[in-house]
């Protein structure tokens, strides 16, 4: 089949006409508006929203139904950009890579430019992604039939090889963090033996660590903690060069069109692989941009606009890719695609060869829906970026309690149980320690997402093919690429130190630094995990043991290097640290400590309140209390913000999403409280 097959063009054209029907467009735009709204809220991905709206689409014709659902799903990551750039707190698991450069830009007053560059990149990325999808439709089935477990394994390994790039000036630490992430991915019931690994006998960990609370803990909580220490608005100075910022952002995107093209195709390709979610796609695009763009290795992480453009383009193109396996094989490429699959059946569509022959027009209508949704979504945000950028000027005493409440509720979306909050808190501490002591966090997420896939496909491939799986041509190519991506930065790093000789020669008297703290913690935790491996079924021991020992060796090496290296040679010259760095505006140590302690107490108070009187009463009191006690905000404002945020959260999370809140103490002590039907009290 040829891409320029006339019948294909015909189908594509008539699908476009179908989608441009005004009534369908209205539904598409409604979906887009809802998607943007849920995208701004931390933790709430498109999945919950899509599930909610699904029943309403049963009465529509297929093209309208998919326009509506895809509109919602496609722009979710666009809404995410706002908190990522302005607060340095990405709403979901995606958008974390945008934070690195986007937030730096916002902090030096270029929030408007960062946002408009991000939206322009999203728009173009979404279009390029849809274009690739549209052109390659006839090739879907043959290509995907070829991609079996060995190829997926090689792809996952290629993904994990990105850690070397994403570790910046601290390759050993990055490697250790990635290994630790893989270990965390293996927590839970092992599919091939049924053994429970590191679950401590809890049902919660049986299904593994949920990604959302981990990501929110690692990235969002530390950011809020540091804001609580700085006690300023996020942006410095007044406002932004907004008008020119918007033009500049658009110009940035246009100038970097080729980068956007590459990243969006990368995003679309990765999106087509089930299991590789948006939480990894953004980092891989970021790593790709850093290794291919001129001078990027020195400027990424310091507010380089290309560091915003690359992940945004990739994440926006990903949905197009995720549609592919859903359409042609019925294997959902992402969790919201799983819900789309239900809509498929409801409209009498069966995924499979029919979708690219008899139902080709519907397939094309989906491609168009995605493209148009991106245009609308990014367009709306682009036009609003002047207003949105001002959000960064909101004082810390409003941002902290409101964001914290939303993050806690968002984390609760993970498995909807108390365990999510423990995970959030634990990874908040880990993330904060890592940020303080300059351990890169992105590799940990990469390991967590890909670790499970690697083990699963490794077992499938070896059970089915023995070792011959290594001989497939695509496998060889991918593994070679992985080796290059992994080794080149490491070798370059060593060379920049002046070779192994200098590295060893630089050793001096042992010195202990505060920054070794996290290494020691990691060593202890990993040591414990490795010591538990004996209790697993034999097959379930292999990967944890291998990865566990690697982590131990690497952490030990990293600690030794730090302890013995003379200060003069520490840090590679000109290579940036690939993560945010704690920045306390030169505050004195005791002040920082005091403020951190206060923040921690507030955090615990929120959890305690939630356990006692339920989430909404707590939220109201918490936001009000924080604003009054931390910054003496006027009562009128306190009431407005606290009430407004609480009512909003109540409407979205309780009325719309009906999240099952955990039981509260008050309801246990005074059973009458339960019959009051107060929101959040159970």
């Amino acid at each position: 089949m040829d891409a320029a097959d006339p019948s294909m063009l015909e189908a594509a054209a008539s699908a476009l006409v179908t989608i441009l029907d005004p009534q369908r467009l209205v539904f598409l735009v409604c979906g887009v508006a809802l998607g943007l709204l849920v995208g701004i809220l931390p933790g709430i991905g498109g999945t919950a929203g899509t599930a909610l709206l699904l029943p309403f689409t049963f009465g529509m014709d297929p093209a309208t139904a998919f326009a509506f659902l895809l509109g919602l799903g496609a722009v979710n990551s666009i809404g995410d950009t706002i908190p990522a750039v302005l607060f340095g707190v990405a709403g979901g698991a995606s958008g974390q890579a945008t934070v690195l450069d986007g937030h730096q830009m916002a902090r030096r007053g270029e929030g408007g430019r960062a946002l408009s560059a991000a939206y322009s990149a999203s728009l173009m990325g979404g279009l390029f992604g849809a274009l690739l999808l549209g052109v390659s439709i006839p090739l879907f089935r043959p290509i995907l039939t070829y991609v079996q477990s060995p190829q997926l394994l090689a792809l996952s390994l290629f993904g994990i090889s990105m850690v070397a790039l994403l570790s910046g000036s601290t390759p050993l630490r990055g490697l250790a963090a990635a290994g630790f992430g893989i270990l965390l991915a293996l927590v839970g019931s092992d599919p091939s033996t049924g053994t429970s690994r590191w679950t401590f006998g809890t049902l919660y960990l049986y299904d593994g660590l949920p990604l959302v609370p981990v990501a929110l803990g690692l990235f969002a909580l530390p950011e809020l903690a540091d804001l609580a220490v700085r006690r300023t608005a996020f942006a410095r100075g007044g406002g932004d060069d907004v008008g020119s910022g918007m033009r500049a952002g658009l110009g940035d995107a246009l100038r970097n069109w080729f980068l956007i093209l590459r990243c969006s195709w990368l995003g679309a390709l990765l999106g087509a692989i089930p299991g590789i979610g948006s939480s990894v796609v953004d980092w891989i695009a970021y790593g790709h941009a850093m290794s291919t763009e001129k001078g990027a290795r020195r400027t990424f992480g310091t507010g380089d606009v290309r560091g915003v453009i690359a992940p945004e383009a990739a994440v926006c193109a990903k949905d197009g890719g995720a549609l592919v396996p859903t359409i042609v094989f019925g294997v959902p490429g992402s969790s919201s695609m799983a819900i789309l699959l239900v809509a498929f059946i409801a409209h009498g569509l069966v995924p499979g060869p029919d979708m690219i022959t008899r139902n080709l027009e519907i397939t094309y209508s989906m491609v168009w829906s995605l493209a148009i949704a991106n245009v609308f979504g990014a367009g709306i945000c682009f036009l609003l970026s002047r207003q949105l950028a001002k959000i960064a000027l909101i004082p810390f005493s409003i941002i902290i309690p409101v964001m914290l409440s939303l993050i806690v509720i968002g984390a609760f979306e993970g498995n909807r149980s108390w365990g999510d909050l423990y995970v959030l808190l634990t990874f908040g501490l880990i993330g904060w320690l890592m940020k303080q002591t300059r351990w890169p966090r992105p590799p940990l997420i990469l390991g967590l997402v890909l670790g499970g896939m690697i083990e699963r496909y490794l077992f499938i491939a070896t059970t089915r093919y023995g070792t011959s799986w290594l001989l497939g041509p695509l496998v060889i190519v991918l593994l070679t690429l992985a080796a290059i991506v992994f080794l080149v930065p490491l070798v370059r790093q060593i060379r920049e130190f002046g070779g192994v000789g200098t590295l060893v020669g630089a050793f001096g008297r042992p010195r202990l630094r505060a920054s070794t703290l996290f290494g020691v913690v990691l060593l202890a935790v990993t040591g414990y995990m490795v010591s538990e491996v004996d209790t697993f079924a034999r097959r379930a021991q292999l990967v944890p043991e291998l990865v566990g020992w690697t982590v131990l060796v690497v952490v030990a090496a990293s600690l030794a290097l730090e302890a013995f290296r003379r200060p003069a040679t520490s840090g590679g010259r000109g290579v940036i640290h690939m993560d945010l760095v704690a920045d306390h505006d030169g505050l004195a140590g005791p002040v920082i400590g005091r403020r951190l302690a206060r923040f921690f107490v507030w955090l615990l108070a929120f959890f305690a309140g939630m356990a006692t009187v339920g989430v909404f009463v707590t939220m109201l009191a918490f936001i009000g209390g924080y604003m009054r006690l931390e910054n003496r905000e006027p009562w009128v404002r306190v009431l407005m913000v606290a009430l407004g945020a609480t009512v909003f959260a109540y409407l979205v999370f309780d009325r719309m999403l009906s999240i099952p809140w955990p039981p509260t103490l008050i309801a246990d002590l005074v059973p009458a409280a339960r019959s009051l039907d107060l929101p959040g009290i159970r």
């Binding site: 999945t47 919950a48 899509t50 599930a51 909610l52 699904l54 029943p55 049963f58 039939t145 079996q148 477990s149 019931s189 599919p191 091939s192 033996t193 049924g194 049902l203 919660y204 049986y206 299904d207 089930p274 299991g275 094989f329 019925g330 294997v331 959902p332 969790s335 799983a338 819900i339 699959l341 239900v342 059946i345 409801a346 009498g348 069966v350 995924p351 499979g352 060869p353 029919d354 498995n415 909807r416 149980s417 699963r456 496909y457 077992f459 499938i460 059970t463 089915r464 079924a537 034999r538 097959r539 009906s658 999240i659 099952p660 039981p663 005074v670 009458a672 019959s675 009051l676 039907d677």
Partner: protein
């Protein structure tokens, strides 16, 4: 603050249930009904749960609204424990729950995390009686159980504890077949794809109402897939009488009892339950409402459009079915346990 507390206590005393509230009054006052779903949004159980919630409301007094609460975890164990330990027992909360966990305490005993006595749950019924199907790719060397006795075949599954893997152990044990289960696929769609791709030879679908049913039926029409056994008492209309039932293939009488036990599990379908201890009049009302729901023409029309198979089991029948499973004679139970048990490796 004191004011609020006083108000709280006052209104609480007002809404305390009157002693002689009838079931009808209860459902008129309940405000909201809750439907707990033991999986996350989007799956088969979720879709069935939402479908019933949508239509059951009109068959209860004063048409109370249903709120769906997804409570995934441990393959349904978490929702089961919740329904037994903490859910209100006043008849305001019902659940659709993974059928496996209803018999998990019996078959897996100590090794499960379940805290409930499944027989104490009040079953409302199910929209479907499930059946199981074994299928292979037409190009595979193995086209029947007979073939699998002499030729090794790879079948896909997500985990060793799933029904798909368990059926393979069952067939191997009863017929001395050589099916090797490859576990680790993320879900049925993934190991179905693996069969299409030729990575595996086939698979066992437990519950032929899942999302891949239509795909499989169409693939069979195209001649790409062959169904070689059905786990059902009588041949299923959709699958056809030319596909042998497992009973027809059995080589000795006693094995039939093993299949009986496992099939009763399947017959529970996708069970809807109420917690133990729901007042008898309310339970009767719930069961009655469920019975009316499953024959509601609007629900049936919707189900047909969704391409769902509807073959309902009602509350009392399901309850008897479950009780029967728990009364299986010890020797049979031991054999079943040894088959379903996950081999230690």
């Amino acid at each position: 603050m004191r004011l609020t507390l006083a108000g709280l206590l006052m209104s609480a005393s007002l809404t305390l249930p009157a002693a002689a509230q009838t079931a009808e009054e209860f459902y008129c006052d309940v405000g909201e009904m809750r439907m707990v779903v033991s999986s996350s949004a989007g799956g088969g159980y979720d879709t069935f749960g939402r479908l019933v919630a949508q239509y059951m409301s009109r068959h209860l007094p004063c048409t109370p609204n249903f709120v769906i609460e997804n409570m995934p975890g441990g393959g349904g164990v978490r929702a089961g424990n919740y329904m037994y330990d903490s859910a209100p027992r006043d008849g305001s909360t019902i659940a659709i729950i993974d059928r496996g966990i209803m018999t998990a305490p019996l078959l897996y005993g100590e090794s499960t995390e379940t805290t409930f006595n499944a027989r104490e749950f009040n079953l409302l019924g199910s929209l479907v009686k499930e059946i199981g199907v074994g299928m292979v790719r037409s190009e595979s060397a193995v086209q029947s159980i007979e073939d699998a006795k002499s030729t090794k075949a790879f079948f896909g599954a997500s985990g060793v504890e799933t029904d798909s893997a368990m059926y393979a152990r069952l067939v191997n044990s009863l017929f001395d077949a050589q099916i090797e289960t490859i576990t680790g696929y993320a879900g049925q769609s993934e190991y179905y794809l693996a069969m299409e791709q030729g990575e595996t030879d086939g698979l066992f679908m437990s519950g032929f109402s899942g999302p891949n049913r239509l795909q499989a039926l169409q693939a069979r029409e195209r001649g790409e897939v062959k169904f070689f056994v059905q786990f059902a008492r009588e041949p299923d209309a959709e699958i056809g009488a030319d596909v042998p039932t497992i009973y027809e293939l059995l080589e000795n009488e006693e094995d039939g009892q093993i299949i009986d036990l496992l099939l009763s599990r399947l017959t529970l379908g996708r069970p809807f339950i109420a917690p133990p201890g729901v007042p008898a009049d309310r339970l009767a009302m719930l069961r009655d409402a469920f019975a009316k729901t499953v024959s509601d023409p609007d629900l049936l029309a919707e189900a047909e459009r969704l391409n769902f198979r509807i073959s309902p089991v009602l509350g009392e029948e399901a309850q008897a079915q479950l009780a029967g499973v728990y009364e299986t004679p010890a020797p049979i139970l031991d054999r079943v346990r040894s088959i379903v048990a996950v081999p230690q490796q």
